[in-house]
Amino acid sequence: MKLQPPPPRRSRRLRFLLAFALLAAPAAAAAPDRDGLAAAGRAGIASSREWRALLHFREGLLGAESLVDAPRFFLAPGGKRDPEAELRATLAAFLRTDVAGEDHPACRFPARLALLRERLGPDAGLPEPACPSFDAWFAEADPRSVTLVFPVGYSNSPATMFGHTLLRIDSGAESTLLATAVSYAARTDQSFGPLFALKGLFGLYDGFFFVNRYYEKITEYSHIESRDIWEYRLDLTREEAARLARHLWELRDLGSKYYFFDENCASNLLHLIEVARPGLALTAHPALWATPVDTLRRVLAAGIVTGTVYRPSRATRLRAIAAPLADAERALAVRIARGEAPPGAVETEAAEADRARVLDAAVELHQGAFFAHGVERKEYARRLIDILGLRSRLPAATYPVPDPPRPDAGHGSLLVAGGGAVAGGGPALALRVRPVYHGILDPPQGFQEGGAIAFGDTELTLAAGGAARLERFSLIDILSLAPRDRFERGSSWKVAAGFARERDGEGGTRLPFAVTWGAGVAAQPLPRLTVYALPGLELRAGGALEHWAAAGLGISTGMVWAPGVRWRMHLEGSAASLLAGERSDRWRIGLGQGLALGRNDALELTVGRDGTKGSAGTRLLLMWNRYL
């Protein structure tokens, strides 16, 4: 059952017929010689969608060129910019007799070979090489269909909210665990540091296609990182899946510059899908940035998704297992996981119907602790076998988890908002742009609860007299709430850096560069109600300050409440005491409310009062949010 109506195919068929007509006549008549092939090649293949897709050729800001950077991908010196030259060079290379075996271009470029054989026919004189490595890999992969896999973010890590995409090449096997997983990632040769992020932003890493078994990806994402996974099955045919696999072989160990914004893990996979089915035009419109979910939506809009499978993470499974347990039983699961109680304790401390659940919960907790490097491997293994030994003597059980909202069902990643503000100086028009990604008041469906991350959040006001004012330009703004309970013991935290308007203590306002960092705790005393307190540090810098910089302590506290599915509230209070460079205390209290009007529309009403040194002011802001 398709989720979207397929796009019309008439024009695609017509184009193919025309191209075939152009090629068929000369190809049928030509003897298998270099000149004949060259002529036919120039006729239509070079400008065809199929050929350009194989080259990842795209119109860009600086002209049309291939997005692949590795020189070894191109057989012609100018191949990166010239599909026709590349075609000529490929044909010539295929006819070489001085190279044999795996190194022959025909073995290195099986997708190109297959396309040219398809277009030029069996009499064109193209080689039919024996390529043991490719043949073995292709036989093992046994491509039949393709699935787009989307691991979402994990709890207490807003940076992972952007998600990730990978492809799975499904074989004829029933189980998908052994299927081939394809992931585009940067090869980072150094240990992690700030340089890591900067290099990713500016293309200083090379990205490669990594291929391994799907079960390794499940272990990595579902168990170790505890991320929910969504599998979107695509309607690619067996031949299309084979085409994708052949092209993947062509990209083997060839790097391209990895750009976080627009040539990242997700956008590169679109090229593979386009090779499988040229004409999908998934990569046709380059955007300034492409988050994984944006590319996911493009695939959905192309109408090629036939169904989804939800794969709950370790944390989600644990919640499902422990849901009906009493608090004492949950505590018992924790003790068993830690080795503080033997697995046999369930016989005396848990109700008979709950014993298997307690042990299954203990296993999830125990593995979680191991993956977080909290347990040494030998001890982990020994305790795991102990717990499982007893568990195997209890009745079998499954813990189904109902599908949550899909990640593509969430609001768009770009926010533009317009409305009005009323403050001491009178009413003003307010405008806001937030390039990415999700705020605490935004409609939560499809996003991790308790996480908020924004880059480049900008707010302007235009007063009645025509004076425009920058209220806020935030570089980063992250809030991560991880309410503590029996199982979750993490810290909640926030970090914000940017220009934010505040009272200057002389009746006016100033716009310093401010950095806030806080870490503390959050709790969930009632369903859908989270409270938090995050003490930390405050920094200010800028001309408005007496000594250009100031530092001090601060605290942010708040309450997030979702009274209804469409209604969210955030009551927050913060205080900062600057001690070095400037001595001032400042405080802020605000109540923000978000009302979802649809998937991509919401109203946001914020009332806030902030003050310092005996000067305070109130501000009311009403905005219409449009998500794109």
């Binding site: 073995a136 093992e140 940076a159 665990l177 078994r213 079960y215 076998i385 030994g389 195997s392 880059f455």
Partner: protein, 148 residues
């Protein structure tokens, strides 16, 4: 220079990996990646700007040496051995629970049609299949085959 070096290393490693076409960690049996310290504040602040492969670490009950010392006879046997070696923990869990994806995969590889009986037989014989934490993947396979 670094780029050339890493590309060269990648090329060598990948060509050695051959038909498995995995990344540099396929090695013998288990290979999986853990993405470094992703809980660090620096990572969060500067964002996941790359999906980097930071390191690798074997984990689980054993490191899975099967497939290296004694190369297996057929591709399908090798597939089963590699699967078991790489999924020891998950297999143990599924057997104890009485079913799961790893068991379905093993049953398919062993061409077992009666899955219900398969799952039940394995569950009843958990202690025989996993007698200790030091059990080797080959022993696990032998034990599974002996109880079905």
């Amino acid at each position: 220079m670094k780029k050339v070096l890493s590309t060269a290393v990648a090329a060598i490693v990948l060509s050695v990996a051959g038909s498995a076409m995995a990344n540099s960690n396929i090695g013998c049996g288990v290979g999986t990646m853990i993405f470094g310290d992703k809980d660090g504040l620096v990572f969060q602040v500067l964002g996941a700007t790359t999906n980097g492969i930071l390191g690798n670490q074997t984990f689980g009950i054993t490191s899975g040496t099967l497939g290296c010392d004694k190369p297996s006879s057929t591709a399908s046997t090798q597939r089963l051995e590699q699967f078991v070696a790489s999924n020891m923990d998950a297999i143990a869990r599924d057997i104890a629970a009485g079913g799961g994806e790893t068991l379905a995969a093993i049953a398919e590889m062993l061409q077992v049609s009666d899955r219900v009986a398969f799952n039940a037989a394995l569950k009843a014989n958990f202690a025989k299949i996993f007698p200790s934490a030091e059990v080797q993947p080959g022993q696990v396979i032998d034990a599974i085959v002996s109880v079905i």
